[in-house]
């Protein structure tokens, strides 16, 4: 299916008017309206389209050139757009972010790739003290259209620093926008919307969802960058999650349905700001809310959402808002990660507790 995407990408170049100037222009082949793609290919297509549409978009990161990134998300883009649009940088995350800030001041729209979740921290200072505040510091005089892509999360059996979920650090930082798609369609569109944003966007890519294919509709996104979305309708209990957790919640909902329990699943999509509309509407309907995440629970997205739902849906709730999280430990050795990461069964255990009230 990747061939479809390649056809899609060259649509404007394929019109050769030079060889036959007298004849009517040959119409460009219509881009496909949809394709079934793994998330890596959907992201690749999103980057290619953004770079084609806007020459100020450029990519920066480690090994993103001829290699195409360690997850191949940028595969082929270096060959297509060249050295000045796809920058294989020296190995220094603070510099990747810091020079991206300078490039954004100059009018570029850099998209930085951080190789793995656990490697973002050398760039953390530039992200939090500089990128997030540049617009405020300049009293609105400049925009900071920088996207930082971070593959994150567990389930891939890898070594330390390669399986983490650091999103709360960024969601806690004013001036940043933080999002995470859970599927290929959202990955394509949310990345394009993030690149189009004049604010810095931290773009968390759930790496355990990189490879399953999903239908991408190229005609329209269907939702905005910061909209949360009900992805399964139910009546008994609301479960909220983002990124790879969404597929875990959907699996849990399948199992629960066999037991006669109807779970409504909300895909958070945006971690900052959080779109509470669908969450509160669902809470009003079910009276029971569970927030699930791979990240450690203490001072997390789940804590924040649980507190807000408790404040705003107080009279609708039949049970306290429950959280299902990774434990408050460093991410463990991969051999025991299945005990650390919330599984469908861990979700269902919380569902049982919520329903017992």
């Amino acid at each position: 299916m990747s061939a479809n995407i390649e056809t899609h990408s060259v649509d404007t170049d394929s019109v050769d008017t030079h060889s036959a100037p007298q004849s009517a222009p040959v119409p460009a082949p219509s881009p496909p309206t949809s394709a079934s793609l793994p998330m890596t290919k959907a992201l690749n297509a999103g980057l290619r389209q953004a770079m084609t549409d806007d020459p100020s978009v450029l990519l920066m990161g480690e090994d993103i050139g001829p290699l195409g990134g360690v997850f191949r998300v940028t595969e082929g883009l270096h060959a297509e757009f060249g050295d000045k649009r796809v920058l294989d940088t020296p190995l220094a995350e603070s510099a990747i972010v810091g020079t991206a800030i300078g490039l954004a001041m100059r009018g570029y729209r850099p998209v930085c790739e951080i190789q793995f979740d656990g490697f973002v921290f050398p760039g953390f200072d530039q992200i939090t003290t500089q990128l997030a505040r540049m617009r405020t510091r300049h009293e609105g005089g400049i925009a900071m259209p920088v996207v930082i892509r971070i593959p994150y999360g567990g389930h891939i059996g890898s070594i330390e620093h390669h399986q983490e979920s650091p999103e709360a650090y960024f969601a806690h930082t004013p001036g940043l926008r933080v999002v995470s798609p859970s599927n290929s369609h959202d990955a394509y569109w949310m990345l394009r919307e993030a690149i189009a944003s004049d604010d810095p966007v931290i773009f968390f890519e759930p790496k355990s969802r990189y490879w399953p294919k999903g239908e991408v509709l190229f005609g329209e996104s269907g939702t905005g960058l910061h909209a949360s979305k009900v992805v399964r309708i139910g009546t008994d209990v609301t479960v909220v999650g983002h990124g790879a957790m969404v597929s875990v919640l959907l699996q849990a909902a399948e199992i629960a349905a066999e037991e006669g329990i109807s779970m409504e699943v909300v895909d958070l999509r945006s971690l900052s700001p959080v779109d509470y509309g669908p969450i509160l509407a669902s809470a009003g309907k079910t009276g029971r809310v569970i927030v699930a995440q791979e990240a450690s629970g203490f001072v997390s997205l789940g804590s924040e959402i649980a507190a807000t739902v408790a404040e705003r849906a107080y009279y609708s709730l039949e049970a306290p808002v429950l959280r299902v999280s990774g434990f408050d430990t460093p991410f463990p050795p991969a051999a025991v990660e299945t005990h650390f990461l919330p599984s469908p069964d861990r979700i269902l255990e919380a569902v049982d507790r919520a329903l017992a009230y």
């Binding site: 450029l58 000045k84 940088t89 020296p90 220094a92 603070s94 510099a95 972010v97 810091g98 020079t99 991206a100 800030i101 300078g102 490039l103 954004a104 001041m105 100059r106 009018g107 570029y108 050398p122 200072d125 530039q126 003290t129 500089q130 505040r133 617009r135 405020t136 510091r137 300049h138 009293e139 609105g140 005089g141 925009a143 900071m144 004013p174 001036g175 926008r177 944003s197 004049d198 604010d199 900052s272 700001p273 779109d275």
Partner: protein
């Protein structure tokens, strides 16, 4: 007496240090200065006098700002006393199209590039975190209080010049370059290292202007580096030059060459300007607690303003000229003082105004809440 002295064989002026004006004010270029001498031919008598005028004015301004801080008008002041020659010489070596990324002590560079000094005071008074619009003030970018953070921004900006094709075209009237200021303390930061790596890798049109003022608050430069800082440039594969930073001519000539090279596509370079922070790090600091009086006296005897004045006297500048500059400096300071006292606090809406470029529900909600809260008090603001 404290054990800390910043004067060591490694950090004082040596034969390798570019110097045109000796400490006694005589024009006595050393061997290291020879290759930079042609750049002084760009200067006329008016330029020398302008250098002197700016150095005197900013020192007077500095005193006024410190006074304003003592009187409660500023939260903090960051004196530049002692570093005027390094800053004035390098600033005049830039062209209008160049971009300047300061640290936070380069007041006179801002003045030369067109920043209203009261705007700098507004930052230190705590009514703004920016103060001016770089694009409208000589491309003098905002102060950066996280040490060395600006080195990376400047390198990224210089990469953008390359991608835009606005540098290295062969036209010195339009070719652009970047100069970034940082210090001996900041040179220890990872960001300074990463900026130098990226600059060398992409061959950015950029000059790293390191003011070695010998003290990072209370820690001497000998703690930051065992070897002279300009030698680090070689490790990155770029030229490094040490100058007598209290010699305005050395600062001008070496920066002029380095910026010319940068604009012409010959890549980045590093200048280490040996100078001295005569004053405190900030008004919150007491240098007598950590540094030796002899150390200070050594550098005060090498004062950049006295040195240029002696030189100008030898070139025939009259007492009237110097008196006129003193009067101008006093007027400048009085004007700054008058306008500083008129600085008004911003409306509370600045808390929310520019956090995001695009609508953000949490910000909008909290802004509305604060408005309602304030309005809930009798006579509260709507």
């Amino acid at each position: 007496m404290t054990p800390n002295s910043a004067v060591t064989p490694d950090t004082a002026v040596t034969a390798n240090t570019v110097q045109f004006l000796a400490a006694d004010g005589s024009f006595a270029p050393n061997d290291a200065a020879a290759q930079f001498a042609p750049y002084l031919e760009r200067l006329g008598e008016d330029d020398y006098r302008r250098f002197y005028r700016d150095m005197v004015v900013v020192r007077r301004f500095d005193t006024e700002a410190a006074n304003l801080q003592r009187q409660g008008q500023l939260a903090l002041w960051v004196p530049s006393h002692g570093q005027e020659a390094a800053q004035v010489g390098s600033a005049y070596a830039t062209r209008p199209q160049d971009h300047i990324f300061p640290s936070y002590r380069e007041h006179v560079v801002g003045m030369i590039r067109g920043v209203d000094m009261v705007d700098i005071l507004r930052v230190l008074r705590g009514v703004t975190q920016g103060g001016w619009t770089p694009a409208e003030h000589g491309n003098f970018h905002l102060y950066s209080f996280v040490l060395a953070s600006q080195t990376l921004h400047s390198t990224g900006y210089a990469m953008g010049m390359q991608f835009d094709g606005t540098t290295a075209t062969g036209n010195p009237e339009t070719d652009e370059a970047v100069i970034v200021y940082y210090g001996d303390g900041a040179s220890s930061q990872g960001d300074a290292n990463e900026a130098l790596v990226f600059a060398a890798s992409y061959q950015t049109p950029q000059v790293f202007f390191l003011q070695n003022n010998h003290w990072a608050i209370s820690v001497p430069v000998s703690r930051q580096s065992r070897s002279p800082l300009y030698l680090r440039a070689g490790g990155y594969g770029m030229p490094g030059t040490q100058i007598d930073g209290n010699d305005v001519l050395a600062s001008y000539a070496v920066t002029a060459k380095s910026m010319d090279d940068a604009r012409a596509g010959r890549g980045p370079s590093l200048i280490e300007a040996l100078t001295y922070r005569v004053g405190a790090h900030t008004t919150a600091d007491d240098p007598t607690k950590y540094r030796d009086a002899d150390d200070l006296a050594y550098w005060v005897a090498r004062d950049p303003i006295v040195r240029l004045r002696t030189n100008l006297e030898g070139r025939g500048a009259s007492q009237e000229f110097f008196d006129g500059i003193d009067e101008e400096a006093a007027d400048f300071a009085a004007d700054v003082r008058r306008r500083a006292l008129d600085i008004r606090s911003p409306d509370r809406s600045v808390i929310f105004d520019n956090v995001y470029a695009e609508p953000h529900p949490l910000i909008d909600e909290q802004r509305a809440w604060l408005d309602r809260y304030e309005a809930s008090f009798e006579g509260g603001e709507a």
